[in-house]
Assembly symmetry: C2
Homo-oligomer: 408 residues x 2
Amino acid sequence: MGLTRRRLLASAGAGGLAAAAGGGFVVGRETAPDDGPDAAAQTVPFHGEHQAGIATAAQDRLHFAAFDVEDGLRAADLRDLLREWSRAAERMTVGQTVGGDDGGQLAPPADTGEALGLTPARLTVTFGLGPSLFDDRFGLAASRPEPLRDLPALPGDELDPARSGGDLCVQACADDPQVAFHAVRNLARIGRGAVTVRWSQLGFGRTSSTSKAQTTPRNLMGFKDGTRNLKAEDPSDLARHVWVAGDRPGEPAWLRGGTYLVARRIRMLIEVWDRASLGDQEQTIGRHKASGAPLGAREEFDTPNFARLPVDSHVRLAAPASNEGTALLRRGYSFTDGLDDRLGQLDAGLFFLSFQRDPDAFVRIQRRLGSADKLNEYIKHVGSGVFAIPPGARRGGWVGETLLALSR
Amino acid sequence: MGLTRRRLLASAGAGGLAAAAGGGFVVGRETAPDDGPDAAAQTVPFHGEHQAGIATAAQDRLHFAAFDVEDGLRAADLRDLLREWSRAAERMTVGQTVGGDDGGQLAPPADTGEALGLTPARLTVTFGLGPSLFDDRFGLAASRPEPLRDLPALPGDELDPARSGGDLCVQACADDPQVAFHAVRNLARIGRGAVTVRWSQLGFGRTSSTSKAQTTPRNLMGFKDGTRNLKAEDPSDLARHVWVAGDRPGEPAWLRGGTYLVARRIRMLIEVWDRASLGDQEQTIGRHKASGAPLGAREEFDTPNFARLPVDSHVRLAAPASNEGTALLRRGYSFTDGLDDRLGQLDAGLFFLSFQRDPDAFVRIQRRLGSADKLNEYIKHVGSGVFAIPPGARRGGWVGETLLALSR
């Protein structure tokens, strides 16, 4: 293990004279680890069968970015980028600087520095590949998984192309927003000349639990969200609904251990919602607001009696029981981006993120919701993206290797 | 003390039957407190000689909003609004719902609910009055403190009117962004019909320490910021530089115990900065990047030898020694608002907030910085506001009472 950001600072303090003498900005020096159990608890391993940031207990903050590859690049450039991104992500997730060449006083610092002194904050960096990456630019058309295509038009869509799509995506989650910001910023910086940011999204509060150890958070409608979400403690559920196993039609070998990410920017019409009566709000969701219990039940985790919920309530329509057993691993975040210039209303809502074995699972549920959900009076979908999420990297490997290792 | 949000949930869980039976959304019921020392540590008192959120140890997150008063309102309406805002702020800072009438299932919930179950998270709500409030609408022209006027044009300003000014402002700070968001949202909701949001700003990471108990954070340039800031532990400094005492010309009695807030949205030209060499960055700031020590010194808190710092370095130009002893209490936050549509570059930087006894203190320093600071190559000021910050409310009182209590 290398020198963490916290230890770097301690050593920089002691070695201030060297810095003053022009020794430059010490980064990434290798040394023995001794940050103790606290640092370990703050670290989510980057390597593994699956990428981190999916079944990982949801962190508090999000910085998401979609990138487009610049004109003229070849598959080998794309491979180099993904390899370099993986290396940087691996370092940042253990609290190190992004590393790379450090040229002393005369060169820009390899790391932008704003996370120095911060813990890893359970940072995860998850990489995804958009459908457009599989066009004719990189020779990948034959490798495109059949389910990976732009989502079809869905009922109620009011999508902004500037908030949709992308050749690549990066999802950085951490318990400290400055750590998540630092990760995306430095990856964008590493990618300069190869990729440009197409759109990005900050999330300030998680709206799903992905572990039974977590309490259920509330979304900006004030309701508990994700009570019946898939949970990391149920690996058989994840195997069934999330991970690509490679044993179904349309599941290429390179995606085995991976999944698909659907991202939707869902604007809440906050002012309208806030004027709705408590009764309307609870009938719309299908749960009691204070307790989170299904209508007619007592406790949050009581199983809903679907037959007794309003037919157009969100909980009833979205439930697996209403969708031939289809389930998604939701991992969304609340967002607010200030005021809508045009309307002078709060531009806030839910940045919905779900991981599933087939993006069509999302499409089927959303078709049902979009046509019948009472919630539609209060929300609109304004951004959309779908990405194949490659499997995790082995030690010494990189995310995307299973697809791109042999690219010319 | 009333029922906190955490206790509300516990009781709502137990009383789920009552809720299911149509008992409505229980809020603000009075009961004995027993949330223990942890809850106390998470609570910053709302009442006092000064408003909270100024000398309070800076919290991690910010939600700031500037409001304009709607046409046709009278001074009495303004008074009612400020009274109601104070009452709501008082409740939220101890972790209660905003309260007000609760009409059961048939009425909108009094509180929007997204902070239910969260701690107070050291929430502070600080109210301010802009120069425009003292025009002829409310009969306040004669009460306008002479120093309260729009800031003059300053060197390098590229201000966007849509991000500047405002009749009123609310600064909500908390260690949990959802708590800060909830506060501003519910105040805006209470103010509906009386005020509209003119602009708002989220801050995701504090960039100043205001207490000696806090470590110095880093701004998005990767440098420690606010090392030599005024600190709450030095009340004589605050008395000299921050609090209006009423004993100088232009200091009206109603503002005694208050101060002035200057807010500046400072965009950082991140991409340019990231390409600058470490040497350039350090010469620009006047400090070493890793340690935060002044150039030529060893430790962060070593006193700079100003004569040896570059004449155009930020630390040298901004120091009290270069400004006839002028000092500000800085309390800014980092922000990022995604991409700049026009340029495709990161729209991020520092939302600068400073409290001072006279806004002219800021003007004088900024004139010096704006004309000579090497940092100007990397930043631009794009938003601006100045507000008189009334003294704190006494128990049973409200912020603004000293100015408005007698308004017709």
